[in-house]
Symmetry: C2
Subunit: 249 residues, 2 copies
């Protein structure tokens, strides 16, 4: 196991002051919240600069904090019994993680790992629960967030139940391109290192199948598939595959 550099902590406002304010102000959790509360949140926030591949918390841990992704991406992964792993979701800036566990005071259902160097804000569990009681807007936002996440999951479950592997891979890549894509010369590049293994865990298959699918798509100029790097070149045709439409030349 490599020894990761310790996350470096700073008091809120010390260096990233204005940016931190922006992050908080734009987060869905704080939408429509009075300025005074935002101030308090800003003061109470613990800001961490977290290197890539750092575990923020493990599946099964008791939730001690609420984490808001400021910059970067975080994958939520689950492992069951004998090493069957799956990736539930990739969190992006503005997303809060550990929220369901925290609100319900239950252990985290998944392990959170940064995919690239990231910036997180976090608040202690007690502080958040107090805020939740005191501020109805936050409570309403929390309900909205958890609700939308539930709907996403329903959608994902349906897809997993009805679509074969190729379609599922197409959907996963499209979603990642939409949410974590950045314009590149050849198309939309997914904004973090993404291994075949990880794609496999997102769609419920193995590395080999993903490798073959990506190679085929690369030959057809649908994507560029390098080591730990995926670029979506032809969204439209990928969308056709994702929707199960008849494949066009």
């Amino acid at each position: 196991m490599p020894c990761p550099p310790a996350p470096s902590e700073r008091r809120a406002g010390e260096i990233h002051g204005p940016q931190i304010g922006d992050i908080i102000g734009r987060a869905p959790l704080f939408r429509g919240v009075p300025g005074a509360v935002l101030e308090r949140a800003h003061e109470a926030a613990r800001v961490l600069v977290v290197p890539a591949k750092t575990v923020l918390f493990h599946q099964g841990d008791a939730p001690s904090q609420l984490i808001l992704v400021g910059k970067g991406f975080v994958k939520m992964g689950q492992v069951s019994g004998r090493g069957e792993a799956s990736i539930i979701r990739v969190m992006e800036p503005g997303d809060i993680i550990g929220c369901v566990a925290l609100f319900r005071r239950k252990p985290y259902p998944a392990t959170a790992t940064t995919l690239i160097d990231s910036l997180t804000l976090s608040w202690p569990a007690g502080w958040v629960l107090d805020l939740l009681e005191q501020c109805p807007e936050v409570q309403a936002n929390a309900l909205e967030i958890v609700g939308s996440r539930a709907e996403e999951l329903v959608h994902g479950l349906h897809g997993m139940a009805t679509a074969r592997v190729e379609r599922r891979v197409a959907r996963a890549l499209l979603r990642l391109a939409e949410r974590a894509g950045q314009a590149a010369a050849e198309g939309t590049e997914i904004g973090f290192p993404l291994s075949r293994q990880e794609i496999a865990e997102m769609v419920g298959t193995d590395v080999f199948g993903v490798s073959r699918i990506l190679r085929r798509w690369a030959d057809q100029r649908l994507v560029i598939a390098d080591r730990l790097r995926v670029v979506v070149r032809d969204r439209k045709r990928l969308r056709c595959i994702a929707d199960g439409a008849f494949e066009q030349d």
Copy 2:
């Protein structure tokens, strides 16, 4: 299409008075809510006796009401594009349905259909949204409910991604037996008519596979599989299959 008997409506309290009060009092949504609010909910509730196989609402409809299952069971089914169907969940007494859609003011993501003759309470959307604003306990309960549903979905997604069909069928039956089971002579009988087709839609496969699996299990005395009726005889061994443990004789 057969013409179903119209659901018969009654004002709350007319006939089922005390029972209705119980239903409301025991529903998780109303846990810890002041008695006065319970009274108001009781008065505002529209009580419906709904025959089996009745559609409560369709996927895509705008949510006009919140429904609480009083008695009976309701399946939540999704259909996409070209008829790919899946069953997301079976709701049981105490469950509220349409809640996520209602809280988020988005169309229902699934179609709700009664599996047996059922009793539902419902409240108009506006009334519920008002209640949500006025009563913090209800809001907290809603968050808890949606959160726990999200966790279930995460669990389901992981299972769908990592387990093969036989394990998924085993899990589905065990869950149904736990939540909708009633003691029978031979074991735990699932408390509503359940077709192979429906099992298939729950686990993401087709009727044929389910039929074969159930026959094998019936031969091994794990279950009784009749027409529209399933009895779980040996929970323990079924649990082994569900967990992917080595099959014992």
